[in-house]
Symmetry: none
Subunit: 230 residues, 2 copies
DNA sequence: TTATCTTTTAACAATACTATAACAATACTA
DNA sequence: TAGTATTGTTATAGTATTGTTAAAAGATAA
């Protein structure tokens, strides 16, 4: 299923996490400071990084920033204290999830699996279903088509990729920058016009009433969110 | 933990499975042909479907196909013969697992548990929602919304960012300059009017009595403080 | 107490953001 | 290459959000 990297100065904890995820079919590698972590990330391809806030030398936030300059891997942070400042700081800096120490191992494993799924679901369609099914909407990966109330449409590349990106982050807000970088694979230069045009074309196909969309909802000032209620 | 649906024409077997999974804390419902199964699936929400290939009327594969047009529930199929054709057929049609009759009940239960675990994790990244929770106030990062006494509000960008900044410095005094530089990301030029307007709008949403605020407290001459007692 | 200063709030103005249509440019396909 | 499909761009209108102003309330200090 993949390999994760654990960066935490608590050696016992690293080994413990490794054992737990291996039981789920996930490999794990670990190191005990930010610097080593960054060089490991350059050597090998990982699915996810677990990062402790409190470490000697470079702390978790600094490490996070460094990693984020080159990678969009999902990152889960351990906040040592249950303080909101760390949570907010971590989220702003680009962590995808956080967990407060001490934690229950089952919860950690569940979050790891969920994060990995979220980020790799579409690159490696695991198993059999090559489609995403929602109430009243079916996204078919084999044909790059959608089956919606308005009929079946083969979607052009940008439209399909945008829809998949949104649906893959179901319930989460995605910024226009994220959409752009994921779909266009180019640097985002503050121009949303084409994204908005694509969204408009998508909605015309999948939404019963594009003016009050059921699936692709707009989050003003930020981006869009694929409705998790469907 | 949830409820499963068994579709099998063998009535005794249905009852037996039901007893076995109830011992694991899982409810079970059953019916004896594909048609009834499909209508049951429309009525109630199940965690998993067990489906027999050999049934009078609509057979298992046909039922499976029907189910898959509207649902991505995990489906475990019983193949009556140990022939690979059935297995392959079932898996291709969208089953998530199969078991050959006759089977050992323990194995069935183990597979059911495993499938439910996989599926519920897959489908509930919202279990991992990122939020800050206070007494009577919940800040939800996924929706950029607050849930307060006055109701749930999706906050506009400046309001949300301001609230998060305050809550992230819970118990600490933050100056208007800090707020401005964090939220507006511009140089602060001695103009608080808009910050005060934002605070006023925020309080109207999250405070029961905006005139004597519980969460966002005024520190005259300096700025504000998010109450640490909440 | 008064004088001064800050904050609150409402009302309004200005701005920023979004949706969509229409068209232009580009990419793809036969 | 022509023809078509897709994407990018521009313009416009509508709306939500933010900024500004002013009046009133509250705090602070002499």
């Amino acid at each position: 299923m993949g390999e994760i990297l654990i960066i935490d100065d608590d050696r016992e904890l690293c080994a413990l996490i490794k054992r737990s995820v291996i039981a789920e079919g996930i490999e794990a590698d670990y190191c005990h400071n930010g610097k080593d972590g960054i060089s490991k990330l350059k050597e090998k391809e990982y699915q996810l990084v677990i990062l402790d806030v409190m470490m000697p030398g470079m702390d978790g936030f600094e490490t996070l920033e460094q990693i984020r300059t080159t990678s969009s891997l999902p990152i889960l942070m351990f906040t040592s204290k249950d303080d909101n400042a760390s949570k907010v700081h971590g989220l702003r800096a680009g962590a995808d999830d956080y967990l407060t120490k001490p934690f229950v191992m089952d919860e950690l494993v569940a979050r790891i699996l969920s994060l990995i799924r979220r980020y790799t679901r579409f690159n490696q369609p695991e198993g059999l279903t090559q489609q995403l099914v929602f109430d009243g909407l079916k996204i078919d990966f084999d044909n790059r088509s959608v089956d919606a109330v308005n009929g079946i449409f083969e979607l052009p590349p940008k439209e399909f990729d945008t829809l998949v990106f949104l649906a893959g982050h179901q319930g989460k807000i995605v910024t226009k920058q994220q959409i752009y970088e994921s779909v266009w694979k180019e640097e985002y230069v503050y121009d949303d016009s084409n994204i908005m045009a694509i969204i408009s074309r998508l909605r015309k196909k999948i939404e019963e009433n594009p003016a009050s969309p059921k699936y692709i909802q707009t989050v003003k000032g930020i981006g869009y969110r694929f409705n998790k209620e469907v």
